[in-house]
């Protein structure tokens, strides 16, 4: 039998032992003695979540294409195994070789959401690597971070040796080459970090000095060695139409993953520019993958996995230039082979309704709209180009087609929001219901009722958005607003058809702190981790009181990061990163927001955000 890092008597008592055994279908096998670089790529959450993430699979493919590198995977041990590993001092291991992460050259950790930060510390700690980067010795792996939260890496700066800012396809190989040369020359840890800092897009936090003034604001943020650049430039693939590394033979987990299907990324970036949305700015410009390449990838992925479903992935699939073509291709080519298609992030219109009615049981599936705000005024503030008219006409068509479930997503706490805007959430939900009840009773299907679920999350201002300067609401304000919406919901005509729910406000506050935090937060993260907090993204494991205690013991005020409005000239912790979109543009957009002035999307007209510097995508499409 193949060796497992964990002995049988431990595996057998775990909730899902198959999380930890590796050797899934399409796993990459290499002889560890025949490679120069061993890279452990980690998603700091449980296996089923981490295995569903496309980005890691792309990096897995990209690094394993190199003969000199073996990239393996690591996920967070669930709480049952976590306890055992601590009690018995078992080091965290990678799934492929089942060997301890601490013998690897790199531990890469993807940073997808703020509430995974305690799990980042869990991963480093269970690996038996020093948690603080400055304490790491020559033999320990380099800990490198990347992903969306790396656009403000500062709260984690003291735990990471390096951060990769941007898309892995560009300079990951170069970084590995630099490392290989360094290893052959037997250089010191510090030598490598200085060399790595010279690679465009690499940020080495220990090579920068931050000074604060008396009010606690950043006074200066400067490199301390000549190799470290003052500004770190985001890495962007300028042409997504070319052949790029992609998991052509994706891993197929033994246990059901959250995403149990083929994922086809059709496009990167978004043309819309919703002002609250970080992804809408940090992934600019919008770039299409080529339709022929997608067809080729799809065939390879379906053949090699045996999946019976494909999901089209992008920030806004309706804006993909060849959407109809790829959807029709999937239906024509694969429907007879029992392949289903899943279409998240799709605008509800005639085309999407027609497609959905072909592939789903409309009586059971629900229709999703994300108006984000209840009133047109506030939707203009956030630049959400979805009108009441288009929602109601889309819903009307869907109801004619037999749909009977609708989900509506809103945000509370948006800048300039008034009580009227909140009440309008209930009014809009009610109008959707009215649209349904306008259909004559005899033409309605089933029991003739509509089920509307309206959900609201609380707004978190994010770095690199036009709202990066604004005040976030307090917990009390959030809950007060949710109450206003709830009571408005209780008064509308079709209240019995509408269910209203809202997210956890405690998590929102912490997301807000960490999203716009600085280096001083590392001691809070360390303290809360030492109190036993992890899996904070899981409601049942999130303990607000731990965080509150950690902040007060560290002498750090949460409000400084959340409810404080920043001035235009304040040095923000993430200002050293150049995402292409300029700070001036973001501020102009902020001013437009306050005025309720809508900015057209990138295909309507260029608004000069700065992303054209990457020389690709929508910025260079012929604009008719």
């Amino acid at each position: 039998m193949r060796e497992t890092a964990l002995p049988e008597h431990i595996l057998i008592k775990l909730e899902k032992p198959a999380r930890y055994i590796g050797h899934e279908v399409n796993m990459v096998r290499k002889n560890k003695d025949e490679v120069d670089i061993r890279f452990a790529m980690c998603f700091p959450d449980v296996y089923e979540i981490g295995m569903s993430h496309l980005g890691i699979q792309i990096i897995y493919e990209q690094l394993n294409r190199r003969i000199d590198t073996y990239c393996e995977r690591v996920y967070s041990p669930w709480t049952d195994l976590d306890t055992i590993m601590r009690d018995e001092s078992i080091p965290l291991f990678a799934l492929e070789s089942q060997e301890p992460v601490k013998v690897f050259d790199f531990l890469g950790i993807t940073l997808q959401y703020e509430m995974s930060y305690t799990n980042v510390l869990q991963i480093i700690d269970l690996s038996q690597i020093h948690i603080w980067s400055k304490e790491r010795t020559e033999d320990e792996p380099f800990v490198i971070g990347g992903g969306p939260c790396a656009y403000n890496p500062e709260p984690l700066a003291d735990f990471f040796d390096l951060f990769y800012i941007g898309e892995a396809e560009t300079v990951m190989d170069k970084l590995m080459d630099v490392y290989k040369e360094h290893k052959q020359n037997k250089g010191s840890r510090h030598d490598f970090l200085r060399k790595a800092a010279e690679v465009e897009g690499i940020y080495v936090p220990s090579l920068y000095m931050v000074r604060y003034n008396q009010e606690g604001l950043i006074e200066s943020f400067n490199p301390t060695v000549p190799e470290a650049p003052e500004v770190v430039v985001r890495q962007v693939v300028s042409d997504m139409g070319q052949q790029l590394p992609y998991p052509e033979k994706p891993l197929v987990p033994y246990i059901q993953a959250a995403q149990d299907r083929v994922v086809l990324e059709v496009m990167r970036g978004c043309i819309r520019g919703c002002r609250f949305c970080q992804a809408g700015f940090v992934y600019r410009p919008t770039r299409n993958r080529s339709i022929d390449e997608l067809k080729r990838l799809l065939k390879s992925m379906l053949d090699s996995t045996g999946h019976d479903e494909v999901s089209l992935s992008s920030l806004s699939s309706s804006d993909y230039t060849y959407l109809q073509e790829i959807v029709n291709h999937i239906i024509d080519e694969y429907k007879g082979k029992y392949v289903n298609i899943s279409l998240p992030s799709l605008r509800i219109d005639e085309f999407s309704l027609e497609v959905m009615s072909k592939v789903q049981d409309v009586r059971k599936s629900s229709l999703t709209f994300a108006p984000e705000a209840g009133s047109q005024r506030l939707r203009d503030v956030i630049n959400k180009g979805l009108t009441e008219e288009s929602i109601l006409s889309g819903a009307g068509k869907a109801f004619q087609g037999g749909w009977k479930k609708v989900k509506l997503y809103f945000m509370l706490g948006l800048p300039t929001e008034t009580e009227e805007d909140l009440i309008d959430i209930a009014v809009l939900s009610d109008k959707v219901a009215q649209t349904f009840y306008k259909i004559p009773k005899e033409d309605r299907q089933g029991n003739g009722r509509i089920e509307i679920t309206s959900s609201s999350s609380f707004f978190v201002p994010k770095p690199f958005t036009p709202f990066q300067w604004v005040k976030q609401d307090t917990m009390e304000e959030f809950l007060e607003k949710a109450k206003i919406v709830r009571s408005a919901m209780n008064q509308v005509q079709n209240r019995k058809s509408i269910k209203y729910q809202w997210h956890n406000a405690g998590t929102t506050i912490l997301e807000g702190v960490l999203a716009r935090g600085d280096r001083r937060l590392s001691k809070v993260l360390y303290a809360v981790y030492r109190m036993g907090s992890m899996f904070d993204a899981w409601t049942e494991h999130f303990k607000l009181e731990n965080w509150q205690r950690a902040f007060s013991e560290s002498g750090i005020d949460m409000d400084f990061y959340t409810t404080r409005e920043r001035s235009q000239d304040e040095i923000l912790p993430w200002d050293f990163i150049d995402i292409g979109v300029s700070k001036d543009y973001l501020y102009r957009e902020y001013e437009n927001a306050i005025k309720g002035k809508v900015t057209p999307n990138c295909r309507q007209s260029c608004s000069g955000c700065g992303a054209a510097v990457f020389q690709g995508g929508v910025c260079y499409e012929s604009q008719n």
Partner: protein, 227 residues
Amino acid sequence: MKARIKFSKTGIVKYMGHLDVLRYFQKAFRRSGIDICYSMGYSPHPIISFAAPLGVGLESTGEYMDIELNSAESSQVMMEKLNHVMVEGFHIEKFVHLENATKKDNGMAITAAADYHVEFSTEGADWTLFFEQLMNQEQIVLTKRSKTRVKEVDIKPMIYQWKLLSGGVELKLATGSTQNLKPDLVMDGLEDILRMSIQYTVSRSEIYAVGKEALHFVPLWQMGEDF
């Protein structure tokens, strides 16, 4: 046509649960290109039915599933196609045609017994004598716990055969929907005699249907033929 597949599940894949094994084979059939029949509805899936679920942590060299095919090549080719897409630990042993089989002939319905091998993992100790003592009791009354209730049962009539080996035992136990005895419960009996808990590993090696006479059992693959 209806077909029956005998396969083994050994090594680390023993940590996969029953439903995960089902999902694994659904995908494996799709990878293999075998022309298996699908269910109807909005999410059609290959129709596979297992004879007897195997617990997590147990290895087996005698697992069974029944499937239905739209078209087929020879047994040999079908086995090769499926083995070609297996991961280490799963191996197809037999692929036979069930002629004139109806619903009541499916593996799950006819399963009556199974062979288990129990290996004691406590080094230096030999429990076989005590096991003999257990088997020689007129009745073996034990407490059986299910999710909802606790009851006393005499398991002796459900032990069809037993044999002592060095460091372990072989058992033929009632298996299936009418009567089902898990090897763990037999070991509970041994632990009662020893007044201590012991370490052991269990594996399954064959599943049977009832034969022509009493206590005569036929391995499930024998009900079909190579093609």
